[in-house]
């Protein structure tokens, strides 16, 4: 029975948008598969790792109605290695999926579509938001690098999304630094907070494009779904209490400097070479019209950079993990950044002159 007939990319492109979440090794073998479901001229592709599920569709021909699952990676590798102009046909014969393209033939094992686990959409109170893909992409880019990874505090291994009034707020933190930004929405909502898993955020950032096309976000107390273009991504939420981010954003830091972002970034990158490999500490030494950046490593090697700044406040000597500083400078796009400091035991606050909503807080290191 014919499942699909068409050009290579008509199948490969939608397959690539769902296959990113397929785990290479999973205890449930069927989760290495992608579900292909044909209903007349519509072919639906679906992949899941039980936490996240991505669905998309493509067009085909004929009136058949059938479904099967097949190894996502193998199918993708075969399609990718065929010429772009190849005409592909997929047929379901004797429990196997036969892929034909010109003189090439591939027979793949299948597992029944009915056995494939799916995340069912939850019912209950739903909040529906609309935002452009570009806006969401930028929100995520500004904070996602600060998410924890495999932290014991599992609720940090994700991103906090808050809807409050007409604001969409996103926050990420690993306990040492925190990134915060927000975007105005066209409507006002009753407040809701959800924690989205790290993998969901990474997958979303990978798939959203820099366009004015709309992204529909639908939030329930246990689930979030994102619909954009032909893609629907459903994600479970992380159940937990995200820390009170407002408490750690400092309000009264008096020392302030404005620096060219690239200049600071490049100085830090150079100094980072001679930091202690494990701790990655650098010292920022602030004096009249001068910011020095210093590092030493365990082999007694050292590096120093100096940047001229406009500063007349008290001197300060404070240490930071250079990675945390590089992260923010690499992920924001402004010409300059403002750095606010207090003392060597207090956090640093990064602000952007043309974006009042962005805040990045880093705790210092005792070096």
């Amino acid at each position: 029975m014919l499942l699909f007939k068409g050009l290579r990319d008509q199948l490969l492109t939608p397959l690539q948008s769902v296959s990113g979440i397929v785990e290479k090794r999973h205890t449930l073998p069927i989760l290495s598969n992608v579900l292909l479901e044909k209903d007349g001229e519509k072919l639906t592709l679906l992949a899941t790792d039980i936490e996240i599920q991505i669905t998309t569709t493509t067009s085909t021909s004929g009136t058949e109605k059938l479904g099967l699952t097949v190894a996502a990676r193998k199918l993708q590798d075969i399609l990718r290695s065929l010429p772009e102009t190849a005409e592909i046909s997929l047929a379901f014969e004797d429990k196997r999926l036969q892929l034909k393209a010109g003189k090439s033939r591939f027979n793949l094992q299948t597992l029944p579509a009915d056995d494939f686990p799916r995340i069912s959409a939850t019912t209950g109170t739903t909040t529906q938001l609309r935002i452009t893909q570009r806006q969401m992409r930028r929100l995520l880019a500004y904070v996602q690098y600060a998410m924890a990874q495999q932290d014991i505090r599992y609720y940090l291994n994700g991103l906090l999304l808050v809807v409050k009034g007409n604001n969409l707020i996103v926050v990420a933190t690993d306990g040492h630094r925190l990134a915060f930004t927000s975007e105005a929405l066209s409507e006002t909502f009753s407040p809701i907070e959800v924690i989205l898993p790290r993998k969901t955020i990474i997958e979303l950032s990978r798939q959203l494009d820099d366009s004015d096309e709309l992204l529909n976000i639908s939030l329930t107390p246990t689930q979030a779904s994102f619909t954009f273009g032909k893609i629907e991504l459903i994600s479970k939420l992380i159940d937990g209490k995200f820390p009170d981010y407002e408490r750690v954003i400092p309000q009264n830091h008096t020392k302030s400097i404005v620096i060219n972002r690239n200049q600071l970034l490049h100085s830090l990158q150079r100094v980072a070479i001679l930091t202690n490999e494990k701790f990655r500490g650098v010292r920022l030494v602030l004096a009249a019209n001068s910011l020095k950046i210093l590092s030493t490593n365990s082999e007694q090697e050292d590096a120093q950079e100096e940047i001229e700044i406009d500063y007349s406040g008290e001197p300060l000597d404070v240490g930071f993990n250079v990675t945390y500083l590089l992260d923010v400078l690499n992920n924001v796009t402004t010409e300059t950044v403002e750095l606010r400091l207090a003392d060597s035991n207090s956090s640093a606050l990064f602000l952007l002159p043309d974006n009042a909503s962005f805040k990045y807080v880093v705790m210092p290191m005792r070096i």
């Binding site: 014991i152 240490g319 035991n345």
Partner: protein, 382 residues
Amino acid sequence: METNRRIAHLDMDAFYASVELLRYPDLRGRAVVIGGRSVHQPAVQHDGSRTYSRLKDYVGRGVTTTSTYEARALGVFSGMGVMKAAKLAPDAILLPVDFAAYRHYSRLFKAAVASIAPLIEDRGIDEIYIDLSAVPDDSLAIAQRIKQAVVEATGLTCSIGITPNKLLSKICSDLDKPNGITIMAEGDLEQRIWPLPAKKINGIGPKANEKLAALGIVTIADLAAADPTLLQENFGRSFAAWMMNAAHGIENRPIVTESEPKTISRETTFERDMHARRNKAELSEIFTELCAGLAKDLQRKAYVAYTIGIKLRFDDFRIVTRDITLDVAINDASKIRRAAGECLRRAPLDRKLRLLGVKANNLVTIETANAEPTQDQLALGW
């Protein structure tokens, strides 16, 4: 062959069985098999005599750990099912395993050797390598002195092989067992080593041996004469080169006197399979106990671990492991429990469990951990 290195391999003779014979000298000269449970403990009669369990009375799934040379003569070797051994030697004496005693004698014999030659690589409870390169005197005299010291300290005999490297010494200590000394002389490689089966080389296991046999390579001489290209095609470049060198008696691994443990772990196989949700309370208690046990092991050995992992074996024997690496090395029970709990969250728990284990790796000594220069990252204060 490098001649200035002189390495001994010392292997205790039928170690567990010999330790038992120290306790039960009346069993000397008889076929004795170690591998029972505590019910097989000899019973002391009113007149002070002992009655022993016999192999033929054994019922169970245990395997033998060691047997005396008399039992070996009847075909009973270590690693054999006890029921099977009973068919070969029904009247052989069966004794329970007593690791505490074996460890005690293990420490005694190692200390005795160390008083003569201090460069010792510990290879387990009953064998060691000794670097004799810097010990004055000829090899035979040293070997005799070592054996004498071991007998005086423990009452036990051992067999020693002395050659220029660990590989050959390991083979040689086995050539004249029990209570033997084998010192490699000029021409011995060809005459004494080459006729031996290839699997006598420590590192050629059953799988490699089977593959070699399929290529018609049975003895070490066959291996030495084998076509290098053929070996390389079948075993890969580095293993082939290693085997070729080994067959020619070339090997220069140093004596590793201080081996740092790579991992420390605790695991337990349940008496019946457990369900993650239905037996949650019970499992949780076992899990906490394992973590506490692991913490105790770490503390006793003075280590802290950066990585904590878990191991699950399901009722279908599939194994799943998960681990987590922390910023700060730990060795206390509650922190280990928290880290291991986090690993467990990431593991699938849809099947019944047979086994649960907790493992610490990325170990450093507490001393090292404390001496490391610290750059102390402060945390956000919420």
